[in-house]
């Protein structure tokens, strides 16, 4: 029990030491820390660790079982890949933010109680927001603020829900939630699906991820949404509504991706689409479905990371992100193209790639649960996935028209990182058993059947046929698409109008009361009631003025008239109170 190391602690320590390092030492540290975290995960055995009391609540920071382990494995390995990818970034700030982000994500994964979960959840929001702000361009700063505000609101809902849940059940242990009809159930569900980017709460992701730094986006794509998937598996397995939300989500992402011009925003919409599969799996709730969700999350982190790394490499070398401005890069960046395409094949679930053995498990689970509509919807989404990530994006980014640029391959660390991810994408596809052994439930699924292979290939290759035939319709356009963030972006303007007009006017009026009403009436009262005692008052005032002089304030600035009235008012008040007292006493 004592020799259990929380991998989050590794990252927190890593983050604290980072600002002290520079140059090569910093780069070595960047690799050592995630490697150490991977080792910590490898050394773990299932059990409960790190229980203690805080504020009268029983906390458990280390709930280790198959489910948390499988997520911990993929998080730490991806952390290593992401760090290799960002080795070239100078200055510790982004790395510190990334470490805190990964550490807090691991905090959620191992959280055995709601309190730990909440604290980790909040830290994740801030740490990840930094990676968006760090771009420093004005649109990035604004997008970062919107991102942070959305997540703070989500955190506030989670806070409310957790408190209500704790009061309802008397326990803060993290586990499946029952729908007792209370507010807690809904509040927590909403905050979880917000982080999972389920529409209509998805706009923060598609708004902010494309504005993040090149290296930051790689981390962002991996952690927030998958952490949300993890907690959904824990708390809401078998919740019917998630099935429909997930299926709709899968299609939602695919539809928006058709219209998208910014390459990373297109990939961001695909995150929404892919997480849809995972959400469906959680909703179905059978062992195969949950296995499917976990394995899909595992594989997704690597191939989505690879896709973001590839697109990021292009942005890094060309400075451009819009598909209308790119093209013909295959000539000088063949390795980037090839590695990107491995990711694309993986996400599309081509046989012998990781998606084939994971995504299809979710669809099979849906089939096993007799959900024909869901299977059909998810299959359409699969077609869409290949259409966008495997065909549209690489076609317009790397091939098609020549944009005139001849960028070199990205720095070696970025290629290496992509290479490692690519190897994993293929490796999982060829040896699914290794992943299957990590899954929470025993796996009863055999992906490599003839029908499955030809079925998948049919869908994908005939989608490709459609792509080439409808090529003209798919040309990217210089537009943006309105998503649900329209609501709060416009609403925010109306709210500020409200704050600045009615509220401000009210405040001005109330604050001005002292000058308008009170001061004038005090003056009038002082003048009226004490006219006969002016001599006494003047004598008093002179005494006050002398004392004031002794304090260094210049008498002329004291404006004796003002003081007369004021002192008069004060004395009047005291006299009035004494009068009242005497009256009451005698009455």
């Amino acid at each position: 029990m004592t020799d259990w190391v929380h991998p989050a602690l590794v990252f927190v320590v890593g983050a604290l030491v980072l600002p002290l390092l520079k140059g090569r030492l910093l780069q070595v540290w960047l690799l050592v820390i995630p490697a150490a975290a991977v080792a910590a995960v490898a050394a773990m055995t299932p059990g409960e660790f790190g229980g203690f009391e805080f504020l009268g609540v029983r906390l458990l920071i280390g709930k280790v079982d198959k489910l948390s382990l499988v997520f911990a494995w993929v998080f730490t390995i991806m952390a290593f890949i992401g760090c290799v990818y960002s080795l070239h970034v100078r200055g510790p700030a982004q790395h510190v933010a990334a470490f805190l982000y990964i550490g807090s994500a691991l905090g959620v994964v191992f959280a055995g109680d709601w309190f730990t979960l909440l604290v980790s959840w909040e830290i994740m929001a801030f740490a990840s927001a930094y990676l968006i702000f760090a771009s420093r361009q004005a649109p990035a700063v604004r997008a970062g603020m919107r991102y942070l505000m959305v997540h703070i609101t989500g955190g506030v809902l989670l806070f409310g829900g957790i408190v209500l849940h704790g009061m309802e059940t008397g326990s803060y242990l993290f586990g499946p939630l029952e729908n007792t009809g209370g507010l807690a159930y809904s509040l927590i569900l909403i905050s979880f699906i917000l982080n999972a980017a389920v529409p209509p709460l998805n706009a923060w992701l598609t708004d902010a991820y494309p504005e993040a730094t090149v290296t930051g986006a790689v981390f962002l794509s991996a952690f927030t949404t998958k952490t949300a998937v993890y907690v959904l598996i824990r708390a809401y397995p078998g919740t019917e509504i998630l099935i429909w939300l997930g299926a709709a989500m899968a299609l939602y992402g695919v539809i928006y991706a058709v219209l998208e011009n910014d390459c990373r925003r297109l990939l961001a919409y695909h995150i929404v689409s892919q997480v849809g599969y995972m959400v469906v799996g959680v909703g179905i709730g059978t062992e195969m479905a949950l296995n499917g969700t976990a394995s899909h999350a595992f594989a997704h982190i690597f191939y989505k990371g690879l896709l973001f790394m590839g697109a990021g490499a292009v942005i890094h070398m060309t400075g451009r992100r819009k598909l209308t401005e790119l093209g013909g890069l295959y000539r000088t960046m063949p390795w980037t193209v090839a590695l990107y395409m491995i990711g694309a094949f993986a996400i599309s679930a081509f046989p012998f790639f990781s998606g084939f053995v994971t995504k299809s498990m979710v669809i099979a689970a849906a089939a096993g649960d007799n959900r024909a509509a869901v299977v059909l919807m998810l299959t359409v989404a699969s077609s869409g996935t290949f259409l966008h990530t495997g065909l549209k994006l690489p076609y317009y980014m790397f091939f098609a028209k020549d944009c005139g640029l001849r960028p070199k391959e990205p720095p070696i660390n970025m290629l290496l990182a992509m290479g490692v991810a690519a190897v994993l994408c293929i490796g999982i596809g060829l040896w699914p058993g290794v992943l299957y052994d990590l899954l929470p439930y025993p796996v009863d699924y055999a992906p490599y059947t003839g029908a499955h292979i030809t079925g998948s290939l049919s869908i994908l290759m005939f989608t490709a046929l459609g792509f080439f035939l409808f090529l003209r319709s798919l040309d990217p356009e210089r537009t943006i698409s309105l998503d649900t963030d329209w609501l709060y972006r416009k609403a925010a303007r109306w709210f500020m109008w409200f704050a600045e007009k009615p509220v401000a006017r009210w405040e001005g009026m109330v604050s001005g009361l002292s000058d308008t009403v009170i001061w004038r009436s005090l003056n009038a009262a002082a003048r009226g009631s004490l006219s006969s005692d002016r001599d006494i008052v003047d004598a008093f005032v002179n005494g006050v003025a002398r004392t004031a002089l002794a304090w260094g304030a210049s008498a002329r600035r004291m404006q004796t008239g003002v003081v007369t009235h004021y002192a008069g008012a004060m004395i009047g008040g005291v006299l009035a109170s004494i009068a009242l007292y005497v009256l009451l006493r005698s009455g």
């Binding site: 604290v119 505000m149 703070i152 509220v503 604050s511 002292s514």
Partner: protein
């Protein structure tokens, strides 16, 4: 119950009075004069904290100095609530003393002796109020505090300062002279005593409900330092004062005196049972909820950083009153715990505003683009302070927010749960832009600005205290037991 008859409460108050005299005496030797404040603050804190073990164990300290009328003494009694207020006042005076020295010297302010004298006496008044055993003593120190902070508000003696000072005095004195004295008179008349009693002092008086409600409202209006709307306008007006004044007095001492008095009103004058019977608790809660939300909305529109902080203070003070007014044990703990949590974070934020002003002469947030590069420590501390206001772990503000939220659920009042959560989001909306403007927006070279961007740098005597208070606000989040134990001691 351990009652210790001790001169320590008086000592704690007297220390800074003596210091005031000494400051005036040594007014010609600036360094010696300034170090007196420092020494006195440390001494005061040590005396206050020496009483802590007894209070934490459930005991009190008492001493009666003299009697004015039957049932009206000038007396002191140290209990848990008083310890909370006294601890934060004396603790933060140490930081403020260092900060004031740095600020005054950097700005080459005039009338520094008057400043330090008034500052010292203010702290006496604050601690005096904290240890007051009855309403009479409390109100005396309450009024002294208003009077002695007046020169601090008009300190700069510009047209703006005089106007702000005038508004300050009219609101504070006007409210206290009209409502507070009336309430005191009525209380003495009908209850025969002004002493604080744990279960309230009206229980045996046989007063009609109407009269009790009138008396309560008079007190509430009279204690204008608690900044409940519409009696809050003195707070933004007081922002014309130099920042050390705004930081310690208008973020800690004066405003906490206000809410402290309201808490005394609820617990030891009215008593929880009476508050509940008359539904005064819930009525007060609704009243302050309006302040919480409106002040935050208004804060969003302010570009002047100190104005934004002032309205944030107005809003946050009502959190404390809300916690007490909900009358459930957990909410009371939350409200009381929010006193130190808010004080630590808010003083940090004000210190930062002053630091920015001294280093760059900039007051408006829109002029602070990119200043994080020049003042990294200051802006980092500002961010930490913001976390406390929003209620993000690991700050002290998270702890108090937790108790407040649990408390409102415990009191079965969902409306206030919503108010607290909405307020947290509003706080984020007006605090985070300061941080991101400072760190992530491009610095502009504005020739209209007095100090050019390239010349901005941290001033050590100013920066060190604000880093210290920022760390303290985090420390409260990680080790809140001292204040939480005291807060538990307040629950009737």
């Amino acid at each position: 119950m351990d009652i210790d008859f001790s001169i320590r409460p008086v000592l704690a108050i007297a220390v800074s009075l003596l210091a005031a005299g000494a400051i005036w005496g040594f007014r010609r030797q600036a360094d010696l004069r300034d170090s007196i404040s420092l020494v006195a603050s440390v001494a005061k804190f040590l005396i206050v904290i020496s009483m802590a073990p007894t209070i934490l164990a459930g005991g009190t300290f008492q001493i009666t100095l003299f009697t004015i009328l039957p049932g009206v003494d000038f007396a002191f009694r140290v209990d848990a609530l008083g310890m909370v207020f006294a601890t934060i006042s004396s603790l933060l005076w140490m930081a403020a003393a260092v900060y004031s020295i740095g600020y005054m010297r950097s700005q080459k302010e005039r009338a520094q002796t008057r400043f330090f004298v008034c500052f010292a006496i203010s702290l006496s008044a604050a601690v005096g109020g904290a240890f007051a055993a009855n309403l009479f003593t409390l109100v005396i120190f309450y009024e002294v505090l208003s009077l002695i902070t007046y020169p601090l508000v008009y300190h700069k003696e510009t047209e703006e300062s005089w106007t702000g000072g005038r508004r300050y005095m009219v609101y504070l004195m006007g409210a206290s002279k009209t409502f507070l004295l009336a309430a005191l008179a009525l209380t003495y008349q009908f209850a025969g005593t002004l002493d604080f009693k744990a279960a309230g002092l009206f229980n045996d008086a046989g007063l009609s409900n109407g009269l009790l409600i009138v008396i309560y409202l008079c007190y509430l209006a009279g204690f204008a330092k608690s900044a409940i709307m519409p009696f809050h306008a003195w707070l933004p007006a007081a922002m014309v004062a130099p920042t050390p004044v705004s930081a310690l007095l208008h973020a800690v001492a004066v405003v906490k005196m206000g809410v402290f008095c309201v808490l005394r009103l609820i617990f030891d004058v009215m008593g929880v049972r009476l508050m509940d019977e008359l539904d005064l608790g819930i009525a007060t809660a609704y009243l302050v909820s309006f302040t919480i939300i409106t002040a935050s909305i208004y804060a969003l529109t302010r570009d002047d950083l100190k104005a934004r902080l002032a309205y944030s203070t107005v809003s946050q003070l009502s959190y404390i009153i809300l916690g007490a007014a909900l009358l459930s044990p957990t909410s009371i703990i939350g409200g009381v715990a929010h006193m130190p949590a808010h004080a630590l974070s808010k003083i940090t934020l004000f210190f930062c505003a002053g630091s920015i002003f001294c280093a760059s002469r900039r007051k408006n947030i829109s002029d602070m683009a990119g200043i994080g590069r020049r003042l990294p420590w200051t802006m980092a501390a500002f961010f930490v302070g913001s976390l406390g206001m929003i209620g993000i772990p690991p700050s002290g503000g998270f702890i108090s927010k937790w108790y407040l939220v649990v408390g409102s659920v415990q009191a079965q009042e969902m409306f206030f749960l919503v108010v607290l959560l909405v307020s947290a989001v509003l706080n984020a909306a007006y605090f985070l832009p300061v941080s991101y403007t400072a760190f992530f927006e491009k610095e502009r070279d504005d020739p209209a600005m007095e100090v050019a961007a390239g010349d901005i740098r941290e001033i050590p005597l100013i920066t060190i205290p604000l880093v210290a208070t920022a760390l303290l606000s985090l420390a409260m989040g990680i080790y809140p037991n001292y204040f939480l134990s005291l807060a538990r001691g307040v629950v009737p």
